[in-house]
Amino acid sequence: MQPIKKHRGVVAPLHRENIDTDQIIPKQHLKRIERTGFGQFLFFDWRYHPDGRDREDFVLNQADYRNATILVAGKNFGCGSSREHAAWALGEFGFRVILAPSFADIFRNNAGNNGLLVIELPEAIIQRVADNADQHRPYHLSVDLEAQVIADDFGLSEKFEVDPFRRHRLLNGLDEIGMTLAHEADIARYESLHSS
């Protein structure tokens, strides 16, 4: 997993609540057996016309946002299906950070397991970031996971909370399975006590 400590990038706004994983990557693109190749299908129905042409009204098809690495969206981002393909598609497109007032539980785990930092902030701050991303094109944000602060070039500076264990893993790019296997003795003890 690629570590993330400090990141500065362009912000793309998605003015929508409850963005579900069916929108992030529709089902017809879940049939691959690899972890790669999903970025091209990100937000497929919003991004392309049925004939395959780009939809120019979609934010990620606009020149100022094509290279965005930070996404800002409405509450309950990533609800619905458990498909990790959503996190893979976002990462492969180039996103490293997602900001929203809230995230769905499974998506939050999937993001964390793929080096994607999700930051929960109050609705008013999210709205301000999204408005800035509309107005100042391109709008850059600096994210510092060590200091737990986001800042822009216009005076915005906000502290954010993040689960300490997840922060540790993201800062160091740690593989969760390796960490769990370090507790092999605990697992073996549980198994010996519960073998039927």
Partner: protein
Amino acid sequence: MSTPQTLFEKVWDAHVVRAAEGEPTLLYIDLHLVHEVTSPQAFEGLRLAGRKVRRTDLTFATIDHNVPTTADERFVIKDQIAAQQIATLRKNCEASGIPLFDIGSGRQGIVHVIGPELGLTQPGKTIVCGDSHTSTHGAFGALAFGIGTSEVEHVLATQCVSQQKPRSMRISVTGTLPEGTTSKDLILDIIRRLGTDGGTGYVIEYAGQAVRELSMEERMTVCNMSIECGARAGMIAPDDTTFKYLEGRPYVPQRAAWEEAVVRWRNLTTDEGASFDREITLDGTKLEPIVTWGTNPGMSVPVTTAVPDPQDARDASERAAMLAALEYMGLQPGTRIEDVTLDRVFIGSCTNGRIEDLRAAARVIRGHKVHSGVDVLVVPGSEAVKQAAEREGLDRIFKAAGAQWREPGCSMCLGMNPDILAPKQRCASTSNRNFEGRQGRDGRTHLVSPATAAAAAVAGHFVDVRGWEYRS
């Protein structure tokens, strides 16, 4: 006297492998269900790291998401990418020694239908699967939740998941549900009240007289859709209904071991005086049949009412969401739900693809004809459900009415197989998600109970099934 505990706490505590300050809990998993879509990358990850499946005796696989539902195509899959994904699961199961309930085995089906019907799902177990509707299994008093593919790999390698302990909520439903309403209406009503994120971070226990009176199939429908209000899991305390359903199923303990298990399972209830982080009480006697009108499962109204007006939204963001949903669904505010006409009806899925669901739909359709403008697909949840339905003659009722009787799988719930809506087609569906494009790009999904779906199939538009003319 020990501190009173909730059902959730009892199951959680019994599975803690390691709990350390500032770290998520390592929780042991008793049953890991695997399907073709969310597992290939997990097996590949294991291989690359030189790791093995730790407990092949606690891991079971089936094929459900991709499988076509026509008798000829299910064995010769035309979609080459889907066929490769299925072939990969077979290879992975074979190589690692995981039992696979393959197509044609008599035990294949939607993962959340076969777990319970084989008796793999049992009270007090921790159950995971790379599928959000794993919450279904909570109907047996198990702690069951969906996980992503990295977590699937984690469970394959360690038989544990690493989890922050969720908060607890109890939803008590008083009274008896009125005739003509179902547990599908109940859970849609709960999601409508709670919102699609009202359960985020919680495990919900459903309790109260109305819940106690539900059959196992009905309880599974409720727990299945817990994820649609964001909950980590839904749970219902096991009781005689649970034990009666499970007794004699292939994977449950037999004879003396069964008796011992039942004694143990009877303790899996919330103790008197145990406290929840949130408690909600609903009057079950007031429930009406519910129909979704929008693009998430929380956007619903009683069948007797009309499409809501964005003018009545609580705030600007809700108004924007309502306008976008109405635009996508091709609906006008104020249109009576009973005036909404349909092109398709889908009866099936892990929410409502069990034998009781098919019986409920067949009871409504019997002696009637499907409306000439409506294409009706009935997809049993498993090969066992299909066989049981055919023994009872339900297939003949559906076919005589003009509905299509198909082979088991997830089918049009998510349209990963050839069963999809054409753009702008409107569908009454017994499934769980009405997201944009869920059943096919630009397709319009209305979530309903099997009885309401069957009545709509006959009428060609939504009707209040409480006034249905049943024929014998």
